[in-house]
């Protein structure tokens, strides 16, 4: 009799995990909260550092899942997980021999940083808005005009004790660099500034992209956080910051302010942590059994993790964890 595995969440990690488990002859049920598979990838335009269209990666994943014969259940939210299955909305219990939690992350809500005026003033956007506008093929100010000066602000909701987000979300630095370059492509005449605390270029090709942004695209990088934004009389935005390399406060009027929002723990983490063996780290992400050989395993033998449910990761890393989790599940099922 073949074994059955339920995968919670059909993003990059969950999809990769599903197709990998199928190659090992395991029955798979992939449960996704949204109507379509793909998770956050659905909202992205082009992926750093190669500027590969997100759709390409997503389509490949979808094809793999479809070809693998994994059962997919969309529009279904998992309420609780257990060692032997999950409970979905409506109270229905689904049984399985193992569960892989790939429920991902939530985006930081930029409205919490009220001082940046997101949702209050025109022309304050998040990086997610920019991806959406790029996908829609129209990036413009609220009045339809082209921006002449754009400021990107790094670490909105990352490494910020004031909002209880102490962790680094890792991928936002390179996202900010990528979007700054995309803005320069779209508006070659515009000045683009990136305000940062540290630039953390951890992945292959990232550092090169950062240099390219400065040397080829002429993007300005200013070390210092923006403290507040306010509207000016002529409908622009005034930002206050400190250039910490020069040690001077500065004020600047810009047409567009882009908040590079970080990752926060998925809202379902708290619910899942009610299950024996599923524990949260102090930052709210799910804590794997150990960060080395046990990084896809939980405290319960039949519950596994993959992707950003345990920590911020990029897409490639999340997919790799999908594979790693699948292989750990197979190991576990065979040993039973």
């Amino acid at each position: 009799m073949s074994k059955k595995v339920i995968i919670v969440g059909g993003g990059a990690a969950g999809m990769k995990c599903a197709s990998t488990l199928r190659t090992q002859g395991v029955e798979v049920l992939l449960v996704e909260r949204d109507r379509t598979l793909g998770g956050k990838l659905n909202g992205w335009h082009k992926l750093f550092p190669t500027l590969t269209p997100a759709g390409e990666v997503l389509d490949a994943l979808k094809r793999e899942v479809a070809a693998s014969g994994a059962e997919v259940m969309t529009g279904t939210e998992v309420e609780r997980i257990a060692a032997n299955g999950v409970t979905v909305n409506g109270g229905r219990e689904l049984k399985a021999d193992a569960v892989v939690v790939c429920s991902g992350f939530d985006l930081f809500d930029a409205r919490i940083k009220e001082e940046y005026g997101y949702g209050i003033y025109d022309n304050v956007y998040t990086t997610v808005d920019i991806e959406r506008m790029l996908n829609e093929g129209r990036v413009a100010l609220a009045d339809g005009s082209a921006p002449r000066r754009i400021a990107f602000l790094h670490c909105v909701g990352s490494r910020d004790e004031k909002v209880g987000q102490r962790h680094c979300s890792r991928v936002c630095c390179i996202t900010g660099v990528k979007q700054a370059m995309e803005m320069k492509e779209l508006f070659p005449q515009a000045e683009v500034y990136n305000f940062y605390m540290d630039i953390r270029m951890f992945g292959p090709g990232y550092e090169e992209m950062y240099r390219e942004a400065q040397q080829k695209y002429n993007v300005n990088f200013i070390r210092g956080r923006i403290s507040e934004a306010s509207p000016t009389f002529d409908g622009r935005l005034q930002i206050k910051a400190e250039d910490t390399l020069v040690g001077r406060p500065l004020k600047m009027s810009v047409d567009m302010l882009v908040l590079i929002v970080g990752m926060r723990p998925g809202c379902s983490n708290g619910r899942f942590a009610c299950t024996e063996g599923v524990n949260l780290a102090p930052n709210g992400f799910v804590s794997p059994l150990n960060p080395f050989a046990g990084n896809v395993r939980s405290g319960a033998a039949s519950i596994f993790y993959a992707g950003t449910v345990t920590a911020p990761k990029n897409i490639g890393e999340s997919m790799n964890e999908g594979v790693a989790a699948a292989m750990s599940v197979v190991e576990y099922l065979n040993a039973r």
């Binding site: 919490i112 009220e114 001082e115 005026g117 004790e161 004031k162 909002v163 507040e228 306010s230 206050k240």
Partner: protein
């Protein structure tokens, strides 16, 4: 000497040391007080204030009504010890007087049971009082307090105290001596009663019991030992008193008088502070309300420890600075010590190092704009919560108010954060700058949406002819005068009292009335004077962010427990803090008013 026995020596020496030290301290403190304060005393001494002070001494120093308010059993415990002992002394004196010994040495009154028996004094019956009975009754009253005090050591919860003070070794000695005074007295008087048959219902029967138990020989030889013991414990307690927590017994009395004469502590330390600091009994009532203790686990920084450290010259910055100055403890302090001001002037002593050049940039700064009789001062925190700013703008425009915007484009801080940090002279620079600005623009009303700014405007700014209003008061006025109209909605709101506005500013009603005009108001369990602090107070310079967040989460949970749809507060700092822990929306008062504005204000509609 006619009435004397060697056992009175420890008592007499102890009492002498006690009075000498206490008087020496008071004299020194009083002499060092500023001239202005002495003048206040001179003016007040022959006024009604003296009579009021006497009344307060009776109700507070003797009975301590304020402790009864904290917990009735705790109040009884204290009253039985303090008032009971006082009555023992007073009635003891009357008894001695009844035997014609009005002006005999002090120890004759105190040890009258012994002197009366050993000198075979004749009772010159006064009002037919059975003194043995009355004195025994009073002793029983005091002993019941001692028993409760013992019980409190073991289970403080019984008296409504989750935590009690951790005492210094000196305090422990004094405390133990105090506990032994009355049992020792009971035994000594009982033994004398057994031999001379002069006891009341308590000492008499205990004496007979002891006599039967010990036999006559042992009883006779034990009697002087017991009196020596009693006198010695008294001596230990008296000597320890002026150096321990028990200094409060006497010090509260001059404190009450000085306070009634209008003397207060200020942002700079003064000699009057000694009266406040040493009037602290270290009862520890200030510990439980402290959220730093209950939520953040800081348990060495509460007012009781701050005052103790300050009194013994051991005050460190880490204690002085780790306080939200929320005023929750001050609200409950049975002695009514001005805890926040003392904390403030300690910080001034520790940290006030004015840097003249640092504030040179203030000269000539005036980024204000607009013109009007009403000035609006947002303050730094409102600039960081621009929804409030936006809401105020909509409200001003709906009311047709011409507004002078003091700091919308950036301005100079009100000075209160620096003042709370102890940098009082630097704070003064900012206050002077803003004062000049307010006067220059000819406003008659100053509105601020920040209670921190409001407090300093009212307390430290000299603004004659300018009415200072919190935006909650201003909004209520606009509503009362019909200058803005709001739709009453179905939403329910709970209200978080900001410390600076409520406890420290006395403004409780205006924000509530404004909320009721747009929706339903649901009060949280801890409200008004007892409201919780959001935890992000600018007054705490030592707390770390995680602990601020812990407090915020607890406060948000407390507010959400009301079941209200949204949380409303009237301070930008509280708003930011509470939203960190809340799952429901958190609004500033102005936001809900702006959100419920009628399309056109009634002022715009033609009058019938």
């Amino acid at each position: 000497m006619r009435y004397f026995d060697s056992f009175v020596v420890p008592f007499a020496v102890g009492a002498l040391i006690l009075f000498a030290v206490v008087l020496w301290k008071y004299a020194n403190w009083f002499i060092a007080m500023p001239r202005a304060d002495k003048k206040r005393v001179a003016r007040g001494i022959f006024s009604r204030r003296t009579a009021e002070a006497v009344g307060e001494v009776i109700s507070e120093s003797l009975l301590h009504r304020r402790i009864f308010r904290v917990n009735p059993l705790l109040g009884y415990m204290h009253a039985s010890l303090a008032f009971g002992w006082f009555l023992l002394i007073a009635v003891g004196w009357i008894e001695a007087a009844a035997y014609g010994l009005t002006f005999s040495p002090l120890w004759v009154h105190v040890f009258f049971r012994w002197f009366g028996a050993h000198y075979g004094l004749e009772h010159a019956a006064v009002w037919g009082i059975d003194f043995a009975f009355v004195m025994d009754l009073l002793l029983l009253f005091v002993l019941s307090g001692v028993a409760l005090a013992w019980a409190k050591r073991m289970r403080s919860k019984m008296m409504g105290m989750r935590k009690t003070t951790r005492h210094t070794p000196g305090d422990r000695i004094a405390l133990s001596a105090l506990w032994f005074i009355f049992p020792a007295r009971l035994v000594a008087e009982s033994l004398t009663a057994a031999i001379y048959d002069n006891g009341g219902f308590l000492t008499g029967s205990l004496g007979n019991g002891l006599l039967r138990l010990l036999g006559p020989e042992v009883t006779v030889s034990a009697e002087p030992v017991a009196w020596w013991l009693y006198s010695s414990v008294l001596c230990i307690f008296f000597v320890a008193m002026p150096f321990s927590r028990y200094m409060h017994i006497f010090t509260e009395i001059p404190l009450i008088f000085l306070r009634r004469y209008g003397i207060t502590s200020s942002e700079k330390e003064s000699s009057f502070d000694h009266f406040q600091v040493e009037a602290c009994s270290r009862c520890g009532i200030c510990i439980d309300p402290c959220q730093l203790q209950s939520q953040a686990g800081y348990d060495r920084v509460q007012s009781v420890y701050f005052l103790r450290d300050r009194r013994y010259g051991m005050l460190t910055e880490s204690v002085a600075e780790n306080c939200l100055m929320c005023g929750r403890c001050q609200n409950l302090c049975p002695v009514g010590i001005d805890l926040n001001t003392l904390r403030l002037n300690s910080r001034d002593t520790l940290r006030n190092t004015p840097n003249e050049r640092r504030y040179e940039y203030l000269r000539g700064i005036d980024p204000s704009h607009g013109a009007g009789k009403v000035g609006y001062f947002a303050g730094c925190m409102t600039l960081l919560t621009p929804r409030t700013l936006q809401a105020m703008e909509r409200i001003f425009s709906a009311a047709g108010e011409a507004v002078w915007w003091a700091d919308r484009e950036g301005g100079v801080c009100c000075g209160r954060p620096l003042k709370l940090a102890g940098e009082t002279d630097s704070a003064r620079r900012m206050m002077e700058h803003n004062t000049a600005l307010f006067r220059k623009h000819g406003i008659t009303t100053l509105v601020t949406s920040c209670p921190i700014c409001l407090k300093v405007f009212k307390e430290d700014y000299d603004l004659p002819g300018i009415e200072i209003l919190h935006h909650s008061e201003y909004l209520r006025r606009l509503l009362d005068e019909g200058r803005i109209g709001v739709e009453h909605g179905a939403e329910s709101f709970t209200y978080h009292d900001p410390c600076e506005l409520g406890r420290k500013g006395g403004i409780y009603e205006p924000p509530r009335e404004v909320i009721r005009s747009v929706g339903e108001l649901v009060e949280p369990a801890q409200t008004r004077e007892n409201a919780l602090c959001c935890g992000s107070s600018v007054a705490n310079l030592a707390i770390d962010d995680r602990n601020q967040e812990k407090i915020a989460v607890a406060v948000a949970g407390h507010l959400e427990a009301t079941g209200a749809d949204a949380i409303v507060t009237a301070c930008p700092l509280c708003k930011k803090a509470v939203s960190r822990g809340s799952t429901r929306p958190v609004y500033d008062l102005s936001e809900i008013v702006a959100g419920h504005l009628k399309e056109s204000a009634p002022a715009d509609t033609p009058q019938a």
